[in-house]
């Protein structure tokens, strides 16, 4: 069904490059979010991780999609630490698996990649919806994406739904008390603040989307 909608290595490389730019541009904003209910480093953590990714990126140009994202994920896991290291490390390491060592995937396969990545975050962090974490972005985004695919929508429509649901999910963290992560101990003092990981997760999904618009 999505056979004509192909995402190749160039697409994914561009996404990763854009993620690295995002990590710099949004570094202080994400860190500021973390300062209100965490430990003021979420943006810095991503920047540290993606700087390392950027440094190594040229070496990975000949890898297939599975191997490529495994390296991206391993690099984040190894360089970042904290909660974001294993979570986003896991996300990217698992992202490539459904690509089955190929050089390109169609949109349907890509959706399975996203699914695999999100599930990695969930299984590593054990967070569920309304715990005030990145899962509040990822899970509804994934559900919306899968529902749209199920309904046979066009890729851009489907991914628009995905991103929009992620955005709503991200904003849904604002009134929550946290059940996971550093904000957990804040109790009611966490209310009124957006979870930094939910914000960065939204940015990540959106970069996949923006690049997709240039393709489809």
């Amino acid at each position: 069904m999505y056979k004509n909608y192909i995402l190749d290595k160039d697409y994914f490389i561009q996404v990763v490059k854009d993620l690295a730019v995002m990590a710099e541009v949004e570094r202080d904003y994400l860190t500021k979010l973390d300062s209100l209910i965490g430990d003021s480093d979420h943006g810095i953590n991503l920047s540290i991780g993606f700087r390392e990714v950027t440094k190594k990126l040229p070496e990975w140009e000949n890898e297939n999609i599975t191997a490529f994202f495994k390296k991206v994920g391993m690099t984040l896991l190894g360089k970042v630490g904290g909660a974001a290291g294993p979570l986003y490390g896991g996300f990217f390491m698992k992202l490539g698996e459904p690509a089955n060592n190929k050089e390109e995937v169609d949109f349907g396969e890509f959706c399975n990649m996203i699914k695999n990545g999100v599930e990695a975050v969930e299984s590593r962090g054990k967070a569920i919806i309304a715990d005030k974490t990145m899962v509040d972005t990822f899970r509804p985004a994934l559900d919306a994406l899968m529902a749209a695919v199920e309904a046979g929508q066009q890729p851009l429509d489907a991914f628009d739904k995905c991103v929009k649901a992620g955005e709503i999910g991200r904003d849904s963290t604002i009134p929550l008390i946290a059940k996971k992560g550093r904000a957990l101990r804040l109790g009611e003092r966490a209310i009124g603040h957006m979870d930094p990981g939910s914000a960065s997760s939204y940015m990540i999904l959106n970069i996949f989307y923006e690049n997709m618009k240039k393709r489809f």
Partner: protein
Amino acid sequence: MRRLINDPYEIVEEMLDGYCRAFGDHVKLLEHDGRVVVSKNAPKKDKVGVIVGGGSGHEPLFLGYVGEGFADAAVIGNINTSPSPEPCYNSVKAVDAGKGCIYLYGNYAGDVMNFDIGAEMAAEEGIRVETVLITDDVISSKNVADRRGIAGDFFVFKAAAAKAEEGSDLDGVVAAAKKANENCATMGVALGAAEHPTTGSEMFEMESGDMEIGMGIHGEPGVRRGKTEPADAVVTEIMDVLVPELKLAKGDEVCVLVNSLGATPMMDLFVAFRKVSMILEEKGVTVHKTFIGTYASTMNMPGTSVTLLKVDDELKKLIDYPTNAPYFIQK
């Protein structure tokens, strides 16, 4: 920013290089992993390996306590960020002497995830690694298991390390660490923010003259912000939490740690200890040993924490055990 640094993205590597240049007779960096500080004595024959760690920015915490009679290795993360799994695993490989290892670190989700992966990797090679999460920050949660680890790290590390030195097996070391952790309670007050080298600015906003009771050592929000009160009033508020927490009663003995979070004049620590001592005296609680200084910091955050460790004969012996690490020497 009022800090003297070079490239903030290199600060941890430069710090570790400087540290090992300074204290090369005590420690070295692992050749194949620049985030693991190992004692020159490790692995020590027939001794359980004691591994501590966490994010940078709490110096002398973690690396300063690696050395003779103290920890065998420290695993070092980025600023305020747990180390990643690889160095956690590498530290085990470096210090295990066949009797297994213990991971000791503050109870933070990030640290747990990363150290756990390290422990799984070690387990795959048949090395047993046990973990004791430190949870001394009484104000951080009602639920003990959710509490953070802060300056109490020092006492838990000390007790476990001494137990390991005495030749105990891993279960014994775990038991000693748990016992120290259970008898340890800390509460802190911040008077301002640390400056993060990467952003070049303060980690959160706080007006001069304000204080925040219960703030974490990564600058995590505490339980109450207000105008800074006199030292004696603040210490009293802290002791009113710590004393019942440890159920201290007449005749009990404690060790006391009055800790600077980084930018507190030592003078103010002595003033604070004076009140701690007066309150304990009044309650008939004896002080076995006092530690005052920068033991667990948040870079240049102004603030102070008070830790009490309720001790019995065993804990006293473990705390008193001779040590020769760069940032804790005891005869």
